[in-house]
Symmetry: C2
Subunit: 394 residues, 2 copies
């Protein structure tokens, strides 16, 4: 008998976290991580806030608090969700330690061994890893530039038993950069209602739209309390503080609260108080505008340089927001090998195969454009273009 549980056989190191270790090497141009631009972190504001919170509220800020989260933060988050057209209340929000924790909790709450998760193809690597610990089956649903293909979704809803979750990232998807159309969002809710399945809407980037209007979240179309929304401050404020949230009906949220209690009691009290104050007393809107401006320029520059420097025979998408774009190469290219060649040129990206829970698709890769400054984006894409030209039969 193994000393470990059976579930441990399914848990592998995330390729992203392993590559991130490499990217700490100096001089590397990294398009690998999903790292925000550190020069945009609101440092001066956080120093002020921390001092105010500790000077006036240390007894509360450094003490245990409620599992549900700090009341004013829950309220501020509920109000903020109006930006994605969701009407909700503080009591429907649980504060968690980054939305990754929400993925782990979701699996814990819903998945028994061999239950089915329907997901986009490709889908977020971190979700695959979090879910795998609970030994589900992943069924990938065909996904195009408007989201899951609804005919294929319905086919798979019909074909499979024990479907517990439909997991989607509707805005500026990680890794593909695509955004679901409004029609697909509506239809997704209709099908979930018809087949009585819970939808998990993972939305780390929803507010980071560089052009056009923010689209209503899938949760906006929910009529039967079946959408669970995962949000985070990692991309709009900073990831180092590890604060995110779950929004759900009270019945479902209560399950998350129970699981949170056993998992780590609560998220950091002081950090919650700080973020609440940042949202209430500082210019959070203005801060996000600044991020969008900088990332929008970086996106433009990356896409323009790709157009100029990458060889023919390559497909890529044009993300309207978020942090990533996605490159598809001819099928004979293995991007795991390509990644090693790119590293020789001091450029990093994440090979696409990791984003398919059932494997395959080694001919794509993900590029991040938020973390590198403009000249390094140009230089990095040029170097990648050179590597690609060597590898592709022209």
């Amino acid at each position: 008998m193994s000393r470990y549980s059976k579930r441990m056989e399914h848990i592998r190191a995330s390729e992203i976290r392993e590559i991130l270790k490499l990217t700490q090497r100096p001089g590397l141009i990294s398009f690998a991580g999903g790292l925000p631009a550190p020069e945009l972190f609101p440092v001066k504001e956080l120093i002020e806030i921390n001092e105010e919170v500790l000077k006036n509220h240390s007894n509360q800020a450094l003490q245990y608090g409620l599992t549900e989260g700090y009341g004013p933060l829950r309220k501020a988050i509920a109000k903020r969700m109006e930006k994605v057209h969701v009407k909700t209340h503080g009591e429907n929000i649980l504060v968690i330690s980054g939305s990754q924790q929400g993925l782990d909790f979701t699996a814990k709450i819903f998945l028994d061994k061999d239950d089915v998760v329907l997901c986009e193809s490709p889908t977020y690597l971190g979700a695959i890893n979090a879910f795998k610990a609970y030994e589900p089956k992943f069924v990938e649903v065909e996904t195009d530039e408007d989201g899951m293909v609804m005919e294929d979704l319905e086919k798979k809803l019909k074909e499979n038993k024990n479907i517990k979750l439909i997991y989607v990232i509707p805005d500026f998807q990680n890794p593909s950069g695509i955004t679901w159309s409004i029609n697909r969002r509506k239809k997704l809710v209709e099908l979930a209602n018809k087949y009585d399945v819970v939808i998990v809407e993972d939305s780390p980037y929803g507010e980071l739209r560089f052009e056009g209007e923010i689209l209503p979240a899938v949760m906006h179309y929910d009529t039967q309390d079946r959408v669970i929304f995962l949000g985070t401050f990692s991309k709009t404020l900073c990831p180092g503080m590890r604060i995110g949230w779950v929004a759900a009906s009270k019945e479902i949220l209560n399950k998350y609260i129970l699981v949170k209690q056993g998992a780590d009691l609560q998220s950091s009290t002081i950090t919650q108080m700080e973020i609440a104050r940042f949202m209430e007393e500082y210019d959070y809107d203005g801060h996000i505008e600044k991020i969008k401006e900088v990332y929008g320029k970086r996106r433009d520059l990356m896409m323009d340089t790709i157009k100029k420097e990458f060889p023919e025979g390559i497909k890529y998408n044009y993300p309207e927001g978020g942090l990533f774009t996605w490159i598809e190469l001819p099928e004979y290219i293995d991007t795991r090998k390509l990644a090693l060649k790119a590293l020789e040129e001091n450029v990093a990206f994440i090979p696409g195969g990791s984003f398919y829970p059932n494997g395959g698709h080694e001919n794509a890769f993900r590029l991040n454009f938020s973390n590198m400054e403009e000249d390094r984006i140009v230089e990095g894409i040029k170097r990648l273009g050179k590597v690609l030209k060597e590898e592709l039969h022209q």
Copy 2:
């Protein structure tokens, strides 16, 4: 088919967390939570440290970091473990979000459904709740004032199949306040070796000894890399920051790192940097001395007042450190009902039944002495004495 996973049937709200909600009511004298004294939080130092970290290292502090934790903190923790006579290294330390997270991870890594956990009787409620999500069987081992009774431990090691873990809190146990003798610690390791079982040593209070010498951790006696040590800053610094650690062999620690990756990627970067600086550059020893002095006085005052004010026919232990003492009443008393009567007098405690995974033992309760100031301890114990005198047939 339920929409939720089967494990959710086992997860209940923690009585402690529910009672903690009540204790926010003004004027209540609470011996319920395991809350440290907020007036001892090193507020001035944390303001200085936060400013220094954000002014000079914001790019790192607010960004994603490695799952394993912040290197200098891992080193400082490893060094600190010399206090409990454990020699280890930074690479053997994983930083987690409070030791509660270590309990959840432990269960995830080791327990399949119906696997057996041997534990003290009573044992920590938070561990019971964390473990229950993974559907194990709890086998309680007879426990006296020196720790688990070794004859009973060996009996249960022989009798049960699929024993995966022996879970112990050897110092100032929660809830009983007892401390394991050195002989029992040695014998525990011997038996674990003989029956090839992993030991989880949960040690949130090891350094908070008010008299005599700190005893070597169980891990000190480990010769086969089978002890996993869970530590925390919640009681020696503050709980609101949510930082703890796992110390283990590299093979075992690697499992924890994998699980941490899926569960929440990493603990707060900035908080880790702050605690590392507090340990390296401030008087952490002096800070702990101050805590010990204050808690030692509160313990004395509580025990003296209990002696004076509680009726005959009650057993209680004398904790040499930590945060709790434990009161045993005649068997005809139900302390869940007693707790309601005490609340009418504005005094709160945790009924003992919650600390027995297999139920029973409703005639005991836990008292915390760290959180209330001296006059309120005296007043609260007097009120409790009055309630007890009314309830006990004298």
